[in-house]
Structures are given as structure tokens and as C-alpha cells.
């Protein structure tokens, strides 16, 4: 009995001391099969990763079945693979995406390059072209600007057939203290010669709750 009390006392004192000391920050390497952390105030990996995966995957899937590929498989002279200038990721949502923007660009660029469906132009050439012409990404659709930009890209030895834009938008629905935010990633590819465009979107809806109870309540309401 006395020993048990001693152990309990020691545990209580030890626990008290531990609770009262400053802990050191630590980190672990998360395994890929573990679910991402969910941003409590804004979108994070849990939102952007699936958005990019779905939008890019569907765009590439559609184009991988296009006539040029079918022709190639039928041993006809293969049409050249389209060269894509991935111009920018535009954030038009209600949130700051901070360091995610660059990552979204790199992930999309890597996916496209790896698919072999399109041939992306290196970002370094795209940035150099924009800097050289002093054109904003949204100004490229003025015909003269487009010609200037294409000419600069050709001078750099990087001709391109289409421009690609990724745009993140959001829509917010409020319900008292809680709100739902729908995130939409749109990939828009514009043929620089014909002006024809193709579009692929992916959406994710996220609920933000002011407390765990509110979250629980929302789920029960959904079940009803």
C-alpha cells in the first residue's frame, strides 16, 4: 500500500514537473500513407494536394487520348508534342496561400513533364521572357503582346504552342460562426495560334468550425 502511494506521489510530482517545464520542439518524418494535417484556419496540404492531383490528372488523361497520340500508335507520322508555357499560378481566393504557391507551380510542372503528353518549357525561360518583355501574365492575350512574348521565347530557342495558367479561387458560405469554403483549382490552356482553350477544374469543400462541438453538430446534421 505504502509502495503504491509512493509510486503515485512520484508520478504526480514527475508529471507536475514535466507539465511545468518548457518542452523542446520536435518533428517527425510523416509517412506518405498518413493523412495530411488539416489546416484549421486556411487551406493547406489537405486541400491543395488533391486539387492539383485531380485537375492535372484529368487534363492529362483527356489529352493523352487526343488524335495525335492515336495517330502515333497507328504508326502514322506522329504529330509533334505540344510545347506548353506554364505562365503562372494565380491566387484569386480569399486566403493567403503563402509558400504553397511556388509548390503548386512545381508540382503541376513536374506532373506535366513526367506525363510525356506535353513538353513544358522550363520556368526559367518563361520568367526570363516575362522579365524581358515586361509583360504581366494577364497582358499576354493582347495580340501584339502575345506576338512579342512568343518572339522572345523563340529567340531563347523555346518556341511554345500553348500557354497554361493555374487559378485558385474560393467561395465562402457562412452559417453564424462557422463557414464552408469551396476551393477551385482551374487549369486553363490557351492555344497561342488559334486562341482555342481547354479547361480542367477540381474542387474541394472545407468546413471551418468555431469549436469541436460545432463540428460534431454539423456532422450529425449531415447524417440526418
Amino acid at each position: 500500500m505504502n509502495r503504491r502511494r509512493l509510486v503515485l506521489c512520484a508520478a504526480a510530482i514527475g508529471g507536475g514537473l514535466l507539465a511545468g517545464c518548457r518542452g523542446n520542439q520536435f518533428a517527425t518524418v510523416r509517412s506518405p500513407d498518413k493523412p495530411d494535417m488539416v489546416g484549421s484556419h486556411a487551406a493547406g496540404a489537405e486541400t491543395f494536394k488533391p486539387l492539383v492531383k485531380q485537375a492535372v490528372g484529368e487534363l492529362l488523361a483527356r489529352h493523352s487520348q487526343s488524335p495525335q497520340i492515336i495517330q502515333a500508335s497507328a504508326s502514322a507520322p506522329a504529330a509533334p508534342i505540344q510545347r506548353i508555357c506554364f505562365v503562372a499560378v494565380e491566387n484569386k481566393s480569399a486566403e493567403e496561400i503563402g509558400d504553397f504557391k511556388e509548390q503548386i507551380y512545381q508540382v503541376i510542372d513536374t506532373h506535366i513533364l513526367g506525363s510525356g503528353v506535353f513538353q513544358p518549357v522550363s520556368r526559367r525561360f518563361v520568367d526570363a521572357g516575362l522579365a524581358e518583355t515586361r509583360l504581366r501574365p494577364d497582358q499576354l492575350f493582347v495580340p501584339e503582346n502575345m506576338r512579342t512574348f512568343v518572339a522572345i521565347m523563340e529567340q531563347q530557342g523555346q518556341p511554345c504552342d500553348a500557354l497554361l495558367y493555374a487559378t485558385i479561387t474560393s467561395g465562402t458560405t457562412r452559417e453564424n460562426k462557422d463557414y464552408q469554403r469551396d476551393y477551385l483549382l482551374t487549369l486553363e490552356m490557351v492555344d497561342i495560334r488559334t486562341g482555342q482553350y481547354d479547361k480542367q477544374s477540381a474542387t474541394i469543400s472545407k468546413g471551418y468550425y468555431h469549436s469541436r462541438f460545432a463540428r460534431w453538430l454539423s456532422f450529425t446534421r449531415l447524417k440526418r
Binding site: 507539465a19 511545468g20 517545464c21 518542452g23 491566387n91 518563361v126 520568367d127 518583355t133 515586361r134
Partner: protein, 445 residues
């Protein structure tokens, strides 16, 4: 009313101890600030090194050393120093029960210094500025951390009653301003630039260049072909620091309260003779209004305030001042309670000599307190900026302090800067008084 009959000698000794106390951080800082303002960087650094012996002061001293390193043309060292302090302040945000207990029995100087809220944010601002003066590779990340840290601080400011005094905090617009400048240089992320510039306009509405920066971000371009952009950042004046002040109304209230309790209770309480000392954020008068920028002999404009550190520090401190007083009162009450507890434990009679001795010890104990005046003492009063679009090539830049009427005050400081086509060039100058201190820093010479 009073039942104390101390000998005159005892009382004199106690009062002398109470009035003199120990040298505070503020006392040591005075010399450092004077040497810095006079441009004696080596002497200021020597004074700072003397303070490194006290462990609890080291982080503050490191912050001041970072400013000296920056002024001495060593931005890499400054960045390294600031990174260490940033991480340490983050670590010290967690409460430590033992330190809190010790500080309750002594004074707030016994707790490790975790930095005031404005200091935590400004650490990131100076990290961004230091990094911009080198390769600039991490400056964007530091600039994002400025807004992020501010949000964290405000989010954590909710008290038990659901009120948040930190909601009124003035935000540091320099963070988004730097982020906007860095993103604008990419020529591809004008949406980010517009967002950052809108934030600057909202957080610092009286920044005169805010509207035109936002307009350029929405509809304009970084610069015309063949041109580049020069950003001149100026650190103006000596910034806020802390001084020990006597909280007279609290002292009197405590004295009245302990006299009532002494008259009605079983034991007497040590009278609140020693004043309740609290730190106060104090501003230093600053005669410099702006920095006049001349390029190749032609006046190009004056810098304008993007972050008023002095004002921000005072406002933030005012918001948390009631908590500072409350902590000082709690310390006093606990000390008095310990003395009463000791009297009770030793069954001391309230009229006995031992009782008087306990009270004298209590007074001496209370008098040994000193306010926690640790702070980042070499911060500037204001951070100002001027953006100029210039043709690519080398230019002679001259910076000169100017007063409120526009009259120049100090000697011009000259620096050759290189402007690259389509790129940003950053310049940082320190004007704690009318003349430049140290050297003008730039990322392109």
C-alpha cells in the same frame, strides 16, 4: 494605526536599499545607445559584451548586437544572430512553472526574457532585411513569417473572459511590403504583389506610396524595359526602450489595504513602503523626419515611414499594461502572505520585537524588487522606405537626414549602387542620429 517601532537605523538602511536597488538593464543600455548614436560601434559592442555575463540578458544583448552587425556591414552575421534569438523566443513562449514561482518570490527579472510581441515580429522583419542585403534567397520566407507571427500572437491573446486586448495591435506593414517587392521582381506574380500592397494600405493607411504601389501592382509593371528598381530602407532615430517607473496609485492602494488588514487581522502585514516598480516603454525624441535621397546629384525624393516602431511599441505595451501591474501586485501580495504565514508558524505576537523584525524583513524583501527593463534597445524609432525606378547601370547615391521642415540636418553619405535591368537593388542605412552610422548596405555594389 501603525504598530511598527523600528529603530531609525533600520529604517534608513531599508529606505536606502529601496531607493538605490541594483543596476537595471536600462542603466546598462543607456551607454550602449549613446555610443551607437555617436557612431562608436566598437565601443557600443564592448559595452554589450560586458552584459553577456548575465545569462538572463543574453537574448536581448544578441538582438542589439545584430543591429550593430548590420550597421557594421555584416548582414550575414546579423541574420545568424537573429535566427538564434527568433527560435529561442519561440521556445520561451511556453510557460515554465519553476521560473514563474521564482519570479513571484523575487521579481520578473528571474524569468527568461521571451521578448515583447513587437520584438518577436520585428526579429522577422530584420531577418528579411539582413537576408535581402546578401543573396535574398530567404527574404521572401522571412517576410511571410512577419504576417504569420503577428497573427499567431493575436490569436493567442484571448483571455479567460474571451476578450483579446491584442486585437488592437498595429500590424507591421513592412512584412507584406517586402513580400510585394520580392514578388514584383519575378514579373509573373502580380496577384501576390497586389495582395501584399493592399495589406500595406490597410495596415499603414498613412503610408503615402501605398496607393500608387497598389495601382502599379494591379495594372502596371515592375519597371520599364532597360530600368531596374532601387529600394532605399532607412532606420531612423533611436527606438523605444524600457525604463523603471513607480506605479504610485498601486503602491498607495496596497499600503491602504495592508494597513486595514494589519489593523483588523491577527498579524500585521509588512507595510508597502517600497514602491511598486514596473517597466514602462519610453520613446526617445527624434529630430529626423526623413532621409533625402539624391541620385547622381539630382534630388529623387524623401523616404516615408512604413513602420513606426516607437508608436507601435507604446500602443502594444499600453494594451498589456494592466497585466503587468496585476503581476506586480500578485508578487507583493504573495510576499506579504509568506511573512504572515511565517508569523503564524512561529506564533509571533503582533507587538513583539520578532514581529517587527518579520515586517522589516518583508519590507526589505519587497524593496529588493526591480522592474524588468530588458528590451531590444537598439531598434530604430521608424523604418522608412523609398522606391525609385532607375536606368540599369551604376549610380551615385547620396543619403542625408532631413528635419520636419525639410531642412537637411546631417552630412551626406555616399554609396555607388548598381541597378540591373528588371531587377531590384536594396539599400539599407542606419541613422540613429543626424549622421549615418556604420556603412550603407546594398545587395549589389
Amino acid at each position: 494605526m501603525f504598530h511598527l517601532r523600528p529603530s531609525a537605523g533600520w529604517l534608513v538602511t531599508i529606505l536606502v536599499v529601496a531607493s538605490t536597488g541594483c543596476a537595471t538593464y536600462a542603466d546598462r543600455l543607456t551607454t550602449v545607445r549613446q555610443q551607437f548614436a555617436a557612431g562608436n560601434l566598437a565601443e557600443a559592442d564592448r559595452e554589450l559584451k560586458k552584459g553577456l555575463r548575465r545569462r538572463s540578458d543574453r537574448d536581448c544583448i544578441k538582438l542589439d548586437r545584430a543591429i550593430l552587425q548590420l550597421a557594421s556591414g555584416k548582414p550575414k552575421e546579423a541574420e545568424q544572430t537573429l535566427r538564434v534569438v527568433r527560435d529561442r523566443f519561440d521556445h520561451l513562449e511556453q510557460p515554465a512553472i519553476a521560473e514563474i514561482a521564482l519570479s513571484t518570490l523575487t521579481d520578473a527579472n528571474q524569468e527568461a526574457y521571451a521578448g515583447e510581441d513587437y520584438e518577436k515580429v520585428l526579429t522577422r522583419v530584420f531577418l528579411a532585411l539582413s537576408n535581402l542585403m546578401t543573396d535574398g534567397g530567404d527574404a521572401g520566407a522571412y517576410a511571410l513569417q512577419v504576417a504569420d507571427k503577428q497573427q499567431q500572437i493575436i490569436d493567442a491573446g484571448v483571455d479567460q473572459h474571451g476578450e483579446n486586448p491584442k486585437l488592437a495591435y498595429q500590424r507591421v506593414a513592412l512584412g507584406p511590403y517586402l513580400h510585394g517587392a520580392i514578388r514584383e521582381e519575378t514579373h509573373a506574380n502580380y496577384d501576390d504583389v497586389a495582395r501584399s500592397r493592399a495589406m500595406v494600405c490597410s495596415w499603414q493607411p498613412n503610408f503615402p506610396f501605398g496607393a500608387q504601389d497598389l495601382e502599379r501592382a494591379r495594372h502596371g509593371r515592375h519597371s520599364a524595359p532597360g530600368n531596374g528598381v532601387l529600394y532605399v530602407f532607412a532606420l531612423l532615430g533611436l527606438g523605444p526602450h524600457k525604463e523603471q517607473a513607480v506605479e504610485a496609485p498601486t503602491t498607495v492602494s496596497l499600503l491602504v489595504a495592508d494597513r486595514i488588514l494589519s489593523a483588523t487581522g491577527k498579524h500585521t502585514l509588512p507595510p508597502t513602503i517600497a514602491p511598486v516598480k514596473v517597466p514602462k516603454v519610453v520613446l526617445t525624441p527624434n529630430s529626423i523626419h526623413a532621409i533625402r535621397v539624391t541620385v547622381n546629384g539630382r534630388a529623387s525624393g524623401n523616404t516615408e515611414t512604413i513602420t513606426d516602431i516607437g508608436r507601435m511599441a507604446v500602443d502594444q505595451y499600453d494594451a498589456i499594461y494592466p497585466r503587468v501591474i496585476a503581476e506586480a501586485v500578485v508578487r507583493r501580495v504573495i510576499k506579504k502572505a509568506v511573512i504572515v504565514g511565517a508569523k503564524e508558524a512561529t506564533r509571533t505576537d503582533r507587538y513583539s520585537l520578532a514581529g517587527v523584525g518579520f515586517d522589516m524583513a518583508g519590507i526589505a524583501w519587497e524593496a529588493s524588487e526591480s522592474a524588468d527593463t530588458r528590451c531590444w534597445g537598439l531598434l530604430p524609432d521608424k523604418i522608412q522606405v523609398l522606391r525609385l525606378e532607375l536606368p540599369a547601370g551604376q549610380h551615385q547615391l547620396s543619403l542625408q537626414s532631413a528635419g520636419a521642415t525639410g531642412r537637411v540636418l546631417g552630412r551626406p553619405a555616399i554609396q555607388i549602387v548598381t541597378i540591373e535591368n528588371g531587377r531590384n537593388t536594396y539599400v539599407l542605412a542606419n541613422f540613429p542620429a543626424t549622421d549615418l552610422v556604420g556603412s550603407i548596405l546594398t545587395n549589389r555594389r
